[in-house]
């Protein structure tokens, strides 16, 4: 017992002493799966530290939403120089806080569907939401969102709650982008196909891979993981005629970071191969900047959306609450 206590206390002491040793330091707030050992974090940290001769510290919270809350709470006194991992549904709200400074970097190498012009936030990857299905269980996957909505209610889909999860909000916006004012009617039909609404992506995907539901809301890139890491074609994404809803993940420099020259350097590094090469097979998203290596051929086999759907960050910020309430009204009947 005493040795356990001692080791904990000494760990704490070391943790507290460490920052004092580093001369030049960059603090990046991000989400957990970014800094996980199999995430892009470790590679990116090593590559950038070699380039800048500085110390990079990642601080991670649960997800993009928690990230924004964290920065809001800390306000102007935040330790973060860079916040990495917000998505386009959050950028309007993030900008409104006044805590972010213009990036001031050249966006020429940034390629995301629909182009990019924002001067504050810089994309680092993107992906499309998609219905992923089990080819062994579902012979006729839906070919459109309409077919998903009107299809056989005995063929179920596991989705996420838009109140607690990013993909859940993604599906809500996808339906809104396609159905507009008719979204409640669409949800009323889709409701019968919904097996359950989970709090996060993990639970829904877990149900899907356990065989509880033949479909799950995920990303077009999900099958790439199964093809590359598990060498199986069993799970595929369904291409929808109406197009797929886009998620762009971005990073921004805070007002604290505006005083640290390393922040801008990191943002420039982020758009180049040292960062981008790590993205596809660790974050399982498409790189938004220049890569050195070609993508794994499995990425070529993925669904290429006929059309990119997106609702502007401002519209999402203004309507999110009303739309979630509308969804709740239909789904809890």
């Amino acid at each position: 017992m005493r040795t356990l206590l001692f080791s904990l206390v000494s760990t704490l002491a070391v943790a507290a002493a460490l920052p004092a040793l580093a001369a030049e330091k960059l603090t990046v707030y991000t989400y957990e799966s970014f800094t996980a050992e199999w995430g892009p974090g470790p590679q990116v940290e090593k590559a950038f530290e070699a380039e800048c001769g500085c110390d990079v510290e990642f601080v991670s919270v649960a997800d993009g939403v928690a990230l924004l809350n964290r920065v809001k709470l800390e306000g102007a006194s935040t330790k973060a120089d860079v916040v990495l991992g917000l998505d386009t549904n959050l950028t309007a709200e993030a900008k409104a806080t006044g805590l972010f400074s213009p990036s001031g970097i050249d966006l020429a190498s940034i390629k995301v569907p629909g182009g990019w012009t924002d001067d504050t936030f810089v994309p680092f990857d993107y992906g499309y939401f998609a219905v992923v299905y089990d080819t062994e269980k579902l012979k006729n996957p839906p070919k459109s969102l309409k077919e998903l909505v009107d299809g056989d209610p005995s063929e179920k889909i596991a989705i996420q709650d838009p109140r607690t999860s990013t993909p859940g909000l993604g599906l809500l916006l996808w339906v809104k982008a396609v159905y507009g004012d008719k979204a409640p009617e669409a949800w009323a039909k889709l409701k019968n196909r919904v097996l359950t609404v989970t709090p996060g992506w993990s639970e829904a995907y877990g149900l899907f891979t356990k065989g509880e539901a033949p479909m799950v809301l995920s990303y077009t890139t999900s099958p790439a993981y199964h093809m590359i890491a598990e060498s199986t074609d069993k799970y595929q994404a369904a291409a929808f005629e109406e197009g797929h809803y886009l998620q762009v993940e971005v990073a921004g420099i805070t007002s604290t970071g505006a005083k640290n020259p390393l922040a801008k350097k990191f943002m420039e590094f982020m758009t180049g191969p040292g960062f981008q090469d790590a993205i596809p097979e660790t974050n399982w998203m498409f790189p938004a900047g220049k890569t050195d290596k070609p993508l794994n051929p499995a990425f070529d086999k993925l669904v290429k959306p006929a059309k990119t759907l997106q609702i502007s960050a401002e519209d999402v910020a203004a309507n999110r609450k009303a739309w979630v309430d509308e969804w709740l009204g239909v789904m809890s009947k």
Binding site: L195, P199, G206
Partner: protein, 539 residues
């Protein structure tokens, strides 16, 4: 020195424990209220018809879950108590502690592995119902998972209460030739009834705060608890005023139910004599033995089923690679260290409160209970319905400008887990402490034994076994906990369940299943050690 005074140090210990708990909970509320005072519109707007529906569903599922867990648990505990020496009894008791340590999503998947659309029983259910088995999504799924969590817990706590029945009473019953029915009515039921409100209240609190189980198995947002609304108000909207308002509503609802439950209970007058009988004289007849066997087998099958499914899923994982990973080993050590510290703190808090309550009750005699006594009794238990995310967020708000909040994270995890496990520890220890006090109080007063000497010489031998049970339970609970670190940032404290969810969140479902198996095994080993430690004391 006046002989009645030895009680004072016990009351002081209780006051210190209460103060520590009040600071932890009060600090969190203070943080949120200071932050939320700027904009209270969200708190007022929260009280709409939707919230009313949510509150109604929350109460309904929690009441049903409690009834379905508690009533069978009484019979299972009784069966275990009537047959103190059949083979496998110890294993059953240890297995019954494992669900506590499993993260909710693991349990949900384990339950679905049996009763889901693709579960082992889906073929059977399909042919019985004459159609495709739709799975147990909805209220039934929620109830099955809650009973899986709470039936074993309640059984162990009821058994703890039955163990306090003095052996003399059993001998007397056997000499009088009492059958199963009359010994239940005259000996067991009074002991069970005294602990019933506490245990039922505990289970109710666990069910009313359920989150992942309700959302995942509930089938849709029709099944939503207040806890979900609280979580949403802090995570998505960051509206502290609303979070505080909803938490207060949750506490108020729980209080109403717990006070109603208290009317079911009764205060027993324990046996003031020292027990002279060493052995228990129980002879169950054939009919009773058969009934008990069926009860036990049914309960075991119900609890072991999802566990077995979890084990089978875990065996599919590459366990050797997992066990070799430095991250996994580090997370295991982190989990063990944090859980040990929490459990120590938790047992200390619980014992302080129990001693203070007993001392206050003795001082009071037959008069009205004081506020302090009520607080050391049921009051402190209400910490369970304060969501960990509320405590985490509140303290984060308070501490954010005071230097390094990350360094505080491990301390937060330890204290919050300790306080959350404290009500369980109380239920495990209190029957034994009160019964022992009933017997020894006068003796101690006469001999002038008090304070540390009393704890060491008089109470320790009796408390050793329930204390080790309480310790193991608190540790299991802390092992499985995930709640607190959400806002603090988790880099500094990566525990096993955290790692499990992280793996699940990045497609590595097999790894997650393997980690769940390891977590369960770890808990089983803990129970074994606790039993060993507790047994040494038995004369």
């Amino acid at each position: 020195m006046h002989p009645a005074h030895p009680a004072d140090s016990r009351i002081a210990a209780g006051i210190i424990a209460l103060a520590a708990i009040t600071i932890l909970i009060g600090g969190a509320f203070l943080g949120l209220i200071l932050e939320g005072a700027r904009d209270t519109s969200g708190a007022i707007a929260a009280f709409d018809s939707y919230l009313f529906r949510v509150a109604r569903f929350t109460l309904w599922q929690a009441l049903l879950s409690t009834a379905l867990s508690i009533i069978p648990a009484i019979f299972v505990a009784r069966a275990l108590s009537r047959h103190p020496a059949f083979p496998g009894r110890g294993l059953i008791l240890r297995l019954f502690a494992v669900p506590l340590a499993l993260p909710a999503i693991v349990v949900a998947l384990g339950v679905l592995a049996l009763y889901g659309r693709a579960g082992y029983f889906s073929g059977l259910f399909s042919s019985l119902s004459g159609g495709d088995w739709p799975g147990i999504y909805g209220l039934s799924g929620i109830l099955v998972a809650h009973v899986f969590f709470n039936l074993p817990l309640a059984t162990r706590l009821f058994l703890e209460a039955l163990n306090t029945v003095p052996a003399d009473q059993w001998r007397l019953a056997s000499q009088l030739g009492m059958g199963a029915r009359s010994s239940f009515r005259l000996i067991e039921w009074p002991a069970l009834r005294a602990s019933l409100p506490g245990i039922a209240g505990l289970v109710f609190m666990l069910c009313i705060t359920s989150f992942t189980i309700v959302l995942t198995l509930g089938g849709g947002p029709r099944a939503t608890t207040l806890e979900v609304a609280i979580y949403q108000s802090l995570r998505f909207d960051f509206d502290p005023a609303r979070a505080v308002a909803l938490t207060l509503l949750q506490i108020a609802l729980t209080m109403a139910v717990v006070f109603a439950l208290m009317r079911l209970g009764a205060n027993t007058t324990g046996d003031a004599n020292l027990s002279v009988t060493q052995r228990r004289y129980i002879s169950a007849g054939h009919g009773e033995t058969a009934f008990n066997a069926i009860t036990l087998i049914a309960a075991l099958a119900f609890v072991a089923g999802p566990m077995l499914a979890t084990v089978l899923a875990g065996l599919d994982a590459d366990l050797f690679r997992l066990a070799g990973e430095s991250t996994v080993r580090r997370a295991t050590i982190t989990s063990l260290v944090l859980a040990t510290l929490s459990a120590c703190l938790s047992a200390m808090l619980a014992l302080s409160l129990i001693m203070a309550r007993r001392a206050l009750a003795l001082q009071r005699g037959t008069g009205e209970k004081s506020f302090l006594e009520r607080m050391t009794d049921t009051g402190a238990g209400f910490v369970l319905v304060v969501p960990p995310i509320v405590i985490g967020a509140g303290w984060f708000v308070l501490l954010r400008h005071t230097g390094d909040v990350f360094a505080v994270a491990p301390i937060m995890v330890v204290t919050v887990n300790a306080v959350m496990a404290m009500p369980f520890a109380i239920r495990a220890i209190r029957p034994a402490y009160d019964a022992a006090s009933e017997r020894h109080e006068r003796l101690c007063a006469q001999l002038g034994i008090s304070g540390w000497n009393r704890l060491k010489l008089v109470d320790w031998p009796v408390l050793r076994r329930p204390l080790s049970t309480a310790f193991a339970f608190a540790m299991a609970l802390s092992l499985g906990d995930l709640g607190v670190i959400a806002l603090f940032g988790s880099d500094s404290v990566q525990t096993l369940p955290y790692l499990l969810l992280a793996r699940m969140g990045s497609y590595r479902t097999a790894d997650a299943a393997g980690l769940a198996l390891m977590l369960g095994l770890l808990c089983l080993v803990l129970m074994l050690v606790a039993d060993r430690l507790g047994k040494d004391a038995s004369r």
